[in-house]
Structure formats: C-alpha cells, structure tokens
Symmetry: C2
Subunit: 223 residues, 2 copies
C-alpha cells in the first residue's frame, strides 16, 4: 500500500482531529475496498468501518462514492507517474535502455496489483471517472517521453528497424505486464500456471525484454 499514515512522529502527539490524516486514511481503505470488490461491489459502510472515522466524513470530504473512486484513481495514477519520473536510462545505449524500461515496468506492475485492479474496474465502466477527472485527463505519461527518446535514438542509429511509435511500444510492454497481474486468476484456473509464481519471475521478466528487443531489432524485409 501507499499508506500515507504517519505513525505520530515521537514528540508530536497524535491530534484527535487531523483533516489530512483522515482523508488519507479514507483513501487508503477505499483503495483496498474498491480493488477488492469492484466499484459496485465496494461498500461505503465497509470503507467507513475500517477507518477510524465515520461514513459521514467520506461524504464530507469526497462528496460521494463516485467522487471517492475518482480520487482513489487519481492518487493511484499519481503514484505511477512519480515512479516513472524516477526512471533514468539516458546513459544507456538504446537496447539496454529499452530492456531497463521494460524491467521497471514489469516490476512496477507486479508491486501494485491494487492499481491494476482499479484500472481493470475503470475499464469495465468505460473510463468514465477518468473522463470526469480534471487531473487525469491532461497529464501525459513520463514513461512515454522516455520511450520516445530511446526510440528516436535507436532508429537514427539504425539499431531499431521496427515501424512503431512510442505509444505503440508502451502498449506492447504494458499489455504483457498488465495481463500477467490482471488475468492471473482466470489464467491460473484454466491453465494451471500461476503467472506470478516467484520461481518463474525471472523467466517472465527476461521473456518480456527479449520479446521487445527482438521485435525492435529484427531484420525486416524492405517494404
């Protein structure tokens, strides 16, 4: 979890009333509850019960279930973006840079299953909350800029032969990482293989990198 709970730094005794802490606590629990049960399956009463505050405060701070979910989404996407901004691969050659990018994406998806579930849920609802959000609409993805730079560099040097742009490549990498987490349960039930098996982790991680590099550098028949 991306818990923002500060366990009352020593010396600073915990106040009874703390708007920021209450909001953060609601968002933490709401994230779990929405990820657990989906939008309609989530219960506002359940979220309230698992915080130190009451349902009243959810409506006081967030307005309603719908806006609460939107805020949960906004915060979850914010975490991703922050992580993407940490990404520094400019010192690597294009092939190594792309592999590194793929690996970081792979790791990040694995480490944030709740985020994956929220995105799946948002897709079931046609991305209506993203559309309704001021914050989520306009902000681009830092990862996309990174991909764009690597891709240009690789294509100019002739290393990369594939006819793709940054968004395409991002979709390719994301689909692999996302599916592994989002479809873990049905895939496991139907094929008897746990895509998140720790023993297989390195294998799947390498597979992604190999796949992307192979695609980008494959010999193409001129067309």
């Amino acid at each position: 979890m991306t818990s923002v709970e500060e366990p009352a730094r020593p010396g600073e005794r915990e106040r009874i009333r703390d708007a920021a802490r209450t909001q953060a606590e609601i968002l933490d629990v709401a994230t779990q509850e929405f990820a657990r049960a989906g939008y309609d399956g989530a219960r506002v009463d359940e979220i309230a019960a698992r915080t130190r505050t009451t349902k009243r405060m959810i409506y006081y701070y967030f307005g309603g279930k719908e806006q609460l979910f939107t805020t949960v989404l906004e915060r979850a996407y914010g975490v991703i973006r922050e992580a993407e901004q940490q990404l520094d691969v400019d010192h690597l050659d294009p092939v190594a840079a792309i592999r590194r990018l793929a690996e970081v994406t792979f790791d990040h998806h694995e480490q944030h299953p709740d985020f994956i579930r929220l995105v799946s849920i948002e897709n079931i609802h046609g991305a209506q909350h993203i559309a309704a959000s001021e914050k989520l609409g306009k902000i681009g993805s830092p990862a996309l800029d990174v991909i764009r730079r690597i891709l240009t560099s690789g294509q100019e040097s002739g290393l990369f032969t594939a006819d793709v742009d940054a968004v395409d490549l991002h979709a390719m990498i994301s689909s692999y990482c996302f599916f592994r987490v989002s479809n873990r349960h049905t895939f496991g039930a139907l094929f008897g293989r746990d895509l998140l098996d720790p023993a297989q982790r390195a294998h799947y991680r390498a597979m992604l990198g190999d796949m992307v590099i192979a695609y980008l550098t494959a010999e193409r028949t001129a067309d």
Copy 2:
C-alpha cells in the same frame, strides 16, 4: 452476440412455452448485462425485463444470480473453444503457422468484446466462478495443443530459438490481444489513442505477428 434465438422456422409455429428457448434468451441477455455492468452492477430485474419471460424463470432455471453468471461464463468459454477447434494450421510452416495463430487470436478477441469483459470481471472476483464450475475446471484449450505442435516443429528444425513452452507463448499472444480490448477505454482516455481504431487495425495485427515471430526466431547468445 451468440444468439441462439431461432426465429420460429417457417411452418413450425412458435410455442408459448419452450424451456430451451427461454433459457437461451435469459443467457443472451444476462451475458450483455453482466458484460455491461460487472457482476455486482448487473441487475437481475434488468435481465428479466429484457427477456420475454420473468425474473421467476431465472431462479427456476439457474438458481440465482451467482449460478447465472457461472453459466454465462461457461457458455462464453465454450464459444471460444469451438472457434479454436476450427483452427487448422498443420499444413503451414512453423513461422506462417504461428503468425496465422496470432492473427486468429487477434481477430477473435476483437470480435468478442463481451467475452473479454466477462473474463475481466471474473478476474476481479478471483476466478471464483470458474473454480466453482465443473465444466470450466478441467477442459484444456485446443489452442494450446496447436501451439505445442507448432512450437515443437519449429524448435526441432532449429527455426525457433526461444526458450518458451506453449503456455508461455499463449500468455504472450493473449496478453497483447486481450489488453487491446480490455484496456481500450483507459488507454484511450490517457494517451488519446483508440487501440480499436479500424484504420490502425492492420498495423496492430501485423505488429503482433512481427513481435511473436521476432521473439521466437531471434539470434540468441548461447547461455
């Protein structure tokens, strides 16, 4: 839709009572409703209202909402399996066969968005309905057998260098095809690109084939 409605073959006048037809009609509508709104978002009353029968019959034939969803899933997976059984690529060389397999998978996902949504929903609920289903547990995938054959052939001939088994490759192909449909909305909202844009269809279809072939046939550093 996989509508099973037989519009009363001429000469055979439509009976008032027809168990098979009633059940099929319920399943058709339930498929749409569950795919539209998710498990908890779906309304039993809404399903009933959109059939020519009543809610009473849903409980009469299926027992309840939960079992109805399970039956909907069973039928949806059945359709996929049937399609996979049509697949005949044994006359093609391994490279062409894999590309054909990828293309058929690509097409099939695109043509059955409701199925994709149902699987996404089932994953949100931890694949509990698949686990509860007698039918869904044991049946393997015909596509897997096909992949297994192609892979063996390609690896024996030295064409394929990648260290993957059939399940891995199936996951790789599925993830690409699945994501394109399942995450269409959030991806579109965030990156301004519709992955299902008809004008881009051929591009994405070729991209998948290129990717898989490149991965399977890439020159490997011996390890």
